[in-house]
Symmetry: C2
Subunit: 280 residues, 2 copies
């Protein structure tokens, strides 16, 4: 069984995040031994992405969610740096602007959905509207609680238009988070990453877990599944995600598209250019 099956949250199931070990690393002993496996998946992803771009009939949307320091930036840096930037876009969703807030919560998201042939990665996403918004009571319960269904409808529409959707929750322990905060404090090259809200948000860990469990339960669907990725070990997180992405892309039936021109006609033009007076 691959990690795609192992970490998938089956539609309708509620993940018990407290029971999932964030330090899990499967059968892999160390980063060194896993590096080759990761490299292999990355090479496959690169090849599939070329075909996705060439084929230009489908697209891939990857949603990354997790608490502060869970490793969202790291996943992007380690896994998606290998993709051709022509055809790959990353959007980070921070505090909505006044214009965003003047619209429904999916308005700013929809504008950034992948076009045919594209891979788009969301660093945070519309899920914040049932996570941070819920935990901080930024809108009343009757508003956020209706959003699960709206999200499912929206994702279904994208999927029916040819978008494959993969959603990853990066699962770390509170101890690991504190350890990462400590590294930021001690390393002058990382101190700029520290934000005032880090510890305030941390104090709401339990509320966030509850919000994540319900969000994942309500929105893990066949067309847009959630995966809970043990993420205390960065290398294991990268290994699992790259394997899931590669496996998913391998099933997208991506092929070099047929020529858009009459090849016999183009051959004639080529031979004429070979013979003809050079225009230069």
């Amino acid at each position: 069984m691959g990690y795609r099956e192992e970490f998938l949250v089956k539609p309708g199931a509620k993940p018990q995040l407290g029971d999932i070990d964030p330090a899990y690393k499967g059968k892999h002993k160390s980063h060194e031994k896993a590096a080759l496996v990761i490299a292999e998946s990355l090479a496959q992803i690169g090849q599939w992405q070329y075909l996705l771009h060439a084929d230009a009939s489908q697209s891939l949307l990857i949603v990354l969610q997790g608490l502060d320091a869970a490793g969202k930036d790291g996943v992007i840096r380690h896994i998606f740096t290998g993709m051709d930037p022509q055809g790959t876009r990353v959007f980070g969703f921070k505090q909505p602007s006044a214009e965003d807030l003047a619209h429904d919560f999916l308005w700013r998201i929809h504008q950034r959905a992948p076009g045919r042939g594209e891979v788009v990665i969301f660093n945070r996403s519309h899920y914040e509207d049932v996570l941070v918004v819920r935990v901080h009571e930024l809108v009343p319960r009757e508003v956020w609680s209706r959003r699960y269904e709206l999200i499912n409808d929206f994702e279904k529409m994208l999927a029916q238009n040819g978008t494959r959707i993969l959603k990853f929750y990066l699962h770390i322990s509170p101890e690991e988070q504190l350890e990462r905060f400590k590294r930021r404090l001690e390393d002058p090259a990382r101190q700029w990453k520290i934000s005032e809200s880090d510890y305030a948000e941390r104090a709401l860990w339990g509320e966030y877990m509850q919000a994540y469990e319900e969000a994942i339960e309500r929105t893990s669907t066949r067309l847009a599944p959630w995966f809970v990725i043990p993420a205390n070990h960065k290398w294991f997180r990268d290994l699992a995600i790259s394997q899931i992405v590669a496996e998913t892309m391998s099933e997208m039936d991506l092929k070099t598209p047929p020529p858009r021109v009459d090849l016999a006609d183009i051959r004639k033009k080529y031979h004429a250019a070979m013979r003809g007076p050079d225009q230069a």
Copy 2:
């Protein structure tokens, strides 16, 4: 002397493209020997990009221009794939849409200018509005001929707002273009790239050279310089561009930004979290 000085078109100078050897490869004998030099520049670019992103006060705009098969896609794939996609965006400018055409020619360009901390690569650009538009007489001469000044004004504004601008013309010979067309014809995996217009545009080579020479002469400025890159050898093209980009970024005075928080206060919070009842 590095390639930045060697290939720079000095403000006010008119490049004589017919006199520049597209097969030039400097002192480098072969791809194999150049690979290490390229890898070194790419590693530097990666480090500078991290700081550009962290610092978030400046940005970098790279404009790639060249005829069909000159290697614009290849440069993006070879040089910019190594950049963190979070912070790097590529925009290809194809035929303008009806909405684009309802506005001035810089309207769609301005929307895609890099934000602070970003690297943006233009695959074709606003220069098409004084190149293809001129060659095919899509607007009258009095319209396109006024655009050089408008472009300079626009680029000056970006530069004054903290954007470094590098513009590369990928210079290939008509024989090399024909050779690349042949490879597309013969390789089934590349046939999808063939477009009807390839040979029609090729027949206008002389007109394009004239348009490029004038565009480069009129718009190579201190704040937004043009470089004519000999591009028959793909590896040499990559070597020269990566060296010029790395050298430019090294002069941008990029540093890790200072912490945005009171570190003493954060240390207190950290120790409280270490002692306190874990919230998980």
